[in-house]
Symmetry: C2
């Protein structure tokens, strides 16, 4: 099974350090991700298409084209969901030909073509009776954001299928944007970034520097005096992006913005943009990220919190922010080769993002809390709703769709483009960022090619065998990522064994012969994780982890106790256990938990009676991977569990 469509094509980006191996040269074999990609192809994408149909998202294009009567349905930014679906479907077509899917893609492209205005503008809401409202409020009405997703879809469709049908539409839209916004034209950027990454990639695809200039123009329009948007942190408009330090404001927007800064820097060489993106990353991931890779501590403003403000029950951690964080990490990794970005990419991928989709790819999370109770109070906001800043959150049950449906197609396009995130190339070196079974045929930038077959049951097992199937005459460097959690990792080639440093790339430079096997051993011991002491929410608590997976405890596995009464201690004796029949097959972690006294009769607050919780005894504990939560009987869940010493 192959995918050919690269999300990032850095082959001509002069300042990139590690360029992704085109996914057309990556084969994904049966295993963890293969399964999820297949389900998304065969089931998820079709359910999403049907949702776009029944909610009127597709009819809106027909109406904008004048082919259908009736009022626009849904929210004014709903086109973007169709475009993201199209991007995901394009990746799918490159992997698994499907006449059915191809027909759907084709019909959507035709509807978009018909809805596009003669000057290239397209938005199905700002059409017909509302055509004159065009660009009346780029801050809130997201036409550029929508067209950004259109551009990404067009680039993906061309790279996947070789067809220019969608791409021609995209170029007209982009040219229209360049003609309208710029130093001599309209000055405002979109309130929701997205167009910037899209234009950088379009510049790469076309070779036209105008799109890159336009992207940098939009980046630099934030933080103007007087402000073009609001001057608020919410819009990342409080300071020029090159001067921003803290990951503030709307979390999805920040990830898209900072990803575009790194993106542009790889093509323009503007170190200022890269440095600012890295500063923001350090704020986001060193002080404001959940252990799952989730971002966004506040429902209000869907925003980052202060440093170390990481509530578990009210974690917003929108699926899109985890996905946007993956886009951002992938770009910083390409721009620097620093393993820390690949580490957080992996964490977000296996935890914060993957939790956003059910095993059958039929239901999604918008918010991804790290603690849940059976009956959360309603999240209805009431009053006058703002422009999409208050999504339908849907409590803590996955939903087949949302009024604001950014998350479902976002996770789809991520999953179906995943092979593009696994391998990288630099002069004389092949980088392995993520471990998944299959094959990679890498054409080295300085000539020659190397083919590896990778055999692994990662993330359930830490053994990764990389078998050289074809190698050049001269020396090649293999750079294997040693995850930061992999203390005790080792590597064996031809009988020689080497200990490895976590959080780095292990470099093996040598002449490889066909059949040589590099055996990487990543220790899969059960770990407990502590938070920095300034994370108030986690005082006295630990999280369970194994490999890249963060675990949680759920009510479904603990019928005898309430989940929030369980606590860990030195005698918990946590052990991994493979359970092929549970939730499609996974490794649980089992042990013994203490059970704290609950339901105190003395109320919400009472006199404190000593330091340790009174226990009523102990009980078997089962932890499952966080990504798998909320797929059985609804009930309480905890990632961070109290730990009592002795």
């Amino acid at each position: 099974m192959r995918t050919s469509a690269a999300v990032l094509d850095l082959s001509n980006s002069p300042y990139a350090v590690v360029r992704p191996v085109p996914p057309g040269r990556v084969e994904v074999a049966e295993g963890f991700w293969h399964h999820r990609m297949r389900v998304m192809c065969t089931h998820g994408l079709h359910r999403q298409f049907e949702q776009c149909e029944v909610t009127g998202r597709l009819r809106n294009f027909e109406r904008a084209a004048g082919r259908l009567d009736g009022e626009f349905e849904g929210r004014y930014y709903n086109d973007s969901d169709v475009y993201k679906w199209l991007e995901a479907a394009s990746y799918a077509l490159a992997r698994t030909p499907s006449a059915d899917l191809e027909a759907r893609v084709s019909s959507v492209i035709e509807a978009i073509r018909a809805a596009q205005r003669p000057d290239g503008y397209i938005n199905s809401y700002f059409s017909g009776p509302r055509a004159s409202w065009r660009y009346r409020n780029p801050r809130d009405e997201h036409e550029l954001y929508c067209m950004g997703h259109l551009i990404q879809a067009g680039v993906a469709h061309r790279r996947s299928t070789g067809s220019d049908r969608l791409f021609d539409i995209v170029v007209r839209a982009a040219d229209h944007i360049c003609a309208t916004f710029g130093p001599e034209g309209r000055q405002e950027p979109d309130g929701h970034p997205g167009i910037e990454m899209a234009l950088v990639e379009l510049a790469r695809e076309t070779g036209s520097p105008a799109y890159l200039r336009q992207a940098v123009f939009f980046l630099d329009q934030r933080g103007a005096d007087p402000p073009h948007l609001s001057g608020l942190h919410y819009h990342q408009d409080h300071a020029p992006v090159r001067e921003q330090h803290d990951a503030d404001g709307h979390s999805v927007r920040l990830t898209y913005l900072a990803a575009a800064m790194a993106d542009a820097a790889m093509d323009t060489g503007e170190v200022e943009l890269l440095q600012a993106s890295i500063r923001l990353w350090e704020s986001a991931y060193e002080r404001r990220a959940y252990v799952t890779g989730g971002l966004g501590s506040r429902y209000q403003g869907e925003a980052f919190g202060a440093d170390f403000e990481l509530p578990n029950d009210r974690a917003y951690a929108e699926t899109c922010a985890a996905v946007g964080g993956i886009f951002w990490n992938a770009r910083l990794l390409a721009a620097t080769g620093d393993a820390r970005y690949a580490d957080w990419l992996e964490t977000a991928l296996y935890n914060g993002a993957l939790a956003g989709v059910s095993p059958d790819a039929g239901a999604y999370f918008y918010a991804n809390p790290l603690a849940a109770d059976p009956q959360p109070t309603p999240d209805d906001q009431g009053g006058v709703h703002s422009s999409g800043a208050q999504p339908t959150v849907g409590g803590h049950t996955r939903q087949p769709w949302y009024d604001t449906a950014c998350c479902p197609p976002n996770i789809a396009r991520l999953l179906l483009s995943l092979p593009g995130y696994a391998y990288g190339l630099s002069a004389g070196a092949l980088w392995v960022h993520q471990y998944l079974p299959g094959r990679v045929e890498a054409v080295l930038p300085d000539g020659g090619s190397i083919t590896l077959r990778i055999a692994t049951c990662y993330p359930w097992d830490g053994d990764v065998d990389l078998v050289v199937e074809d190698a050049p005459q001269g020396p090649v460097e293999l750079r294997l990522r040693i995850p930061s959690w992999a203390e005790g990792a080792s590597l064996e080639v031809d009988g020689s064994c080497e200990a490895l440093k976590p959080g780095t790339y292990a470099a093996i430079r040598r002449v490889f012969s066909t059949g040589t096997t590099v055996c990487l051993r990543l220790p899969m011991d059960v770990r407990l994780i502590a938070s920095h002491p300034r994370v108030q929410a986690n005082t006295g608590r630990v999280a369970i982890a194994r490999g890249p997976l963060i675990y949680c405890i759920e009510a479904a596995d603990h019928p005898e106790s309430t989940v929030d009464a369980l606590l860990l201690g030195p005698a918990s004796d946590l052990q991994a256990r493979d359970e092929p029949d549970l939730l499609g097959g996974l490794t649980t972690i089992r042990g013994t938990a203490g059970v704290a006294m609950q339901n105190r009769s003395d109320g919400l607050y009472s006199r404190f009676e000593g330091g340790r919780p009174r226990l009523t005894g102990s009980t078997p504990l089962t932890a499952i991977p966080y990504f798998a939560w909320a797929n059985r009987t609804p009930g309480a869940m905890r990632v961070w569990i109290p730990y009592v010493d002795g």
Copy 2:
């Protein structure tokens, strides 16, 4: 010093159980509250008036009257701040005659009179060019809410001064409302309750049952099918109020609504309304209240959280919700005589509400977190602002005023009407709900009167001497509240000593003679408080308390350590110390704290290395009353402090 204006006049409310002693019969002597009331009179009220002037709140009335040109200034619900100020100023005039204040009150009343429409309607925003917008959206535009505050001001002004100048305006406004809304008229209630309590009190003041019927009508318009408002929990519109169970949605609104339910029940005898109010109270105070009496766990929607969802750093706990909770508790106390309401009233008064105002009554809090760090991230919400649901929060520094300025005049009217909350009457009994020095002359409902002089330094000291200055011939019952925290309380009369049960009223029924002294001894030991184990935010943490006061630790007292590194343990040896020179005089609690290792080099998350925090040593700890925080150098603050056993 006297106040004569009762907030609640239950003398003719047939279903009230304990009727407040009119504040005109209550004298407040020098002490904790006397000082704060005086500062509010002599300084706070004048600063608030000036804010109403400079922000155009007063000019808006002149414009509505056609006496001034120019555009309306501020927000459309700003009239309500002026009305609340007028209510507070009326209480002040009853206590301390002031020509200055009287002139200001008089000028405001004249402006209101001139702005009132001939039919009785009044709102300075919906006037002039916007007159035709009247009642276009009662859900969001709060005209009834504003007129509710006007009515409360008019009742207070009449009870304080005997004048009908404002009261006549009020009656015209109320008659207009009754003519417009009702079974035969407009159906919607206001999205923000407030008019209901006002109409009940107006019915009491006028003896006209129409206002009471109108209040009950408004109460019962929530939860209609189809909904009159939104059907959302935010508006408490998801179910009829008589069927509501959980304290959900906007917290201030819920307190005003549920207070009105209890209020109406005392006059109509509708047990359903009372029972529903009690159910909501149990949800609010037994599962969703902060230890400070603060209400509202979420910035988003300014809402209650789920059961036990009580974050400390992002506690919203709006000052107005603590104040509204006091109104609610006072009404349930009057309706039932149950000490638990007086307990929470006291807690909110000394902590959650009082923290909302600075010692000089010149600066206020909107949100009242239970943990703060020096530089919280901005709370700007961005996007399209909703109708006042997103106030100017102002970080964690008290502000002299707010764009949405509900809190400053709310705390003013509470403080200046406080004597009305201290004493109650039932057949043959005088109830002492709150302990403050001074005198009460109670006319018993069944004839006779009793005068007590109360000597106490409460809350700094737990000795309360109640000296009988005048007593009837026959037996009288004194009912003294024994706070729920007062384990070990005792009472001595004429040599006989009695142990008391916390959380009840101790009843002393006897024939009192002049000079008899009842000596109540409330133990003022330093207590540690634990939360119910389901409060995730407080796992492993305790709060320090003494008497009714909750304490906190602040950076200003701990220059050598960061506040979030301090922890308590069995050796902390906490002792109270009177400090007359600190922050106007208060009792601190001092002891020894452990200092946890901070600034771990290994980042936000790391491998867990054992159950107890590593300590770098110990340091002197100073805790101050929570109400006094944020009055010195800005810095971190914590109410809930980690406790490590051994």
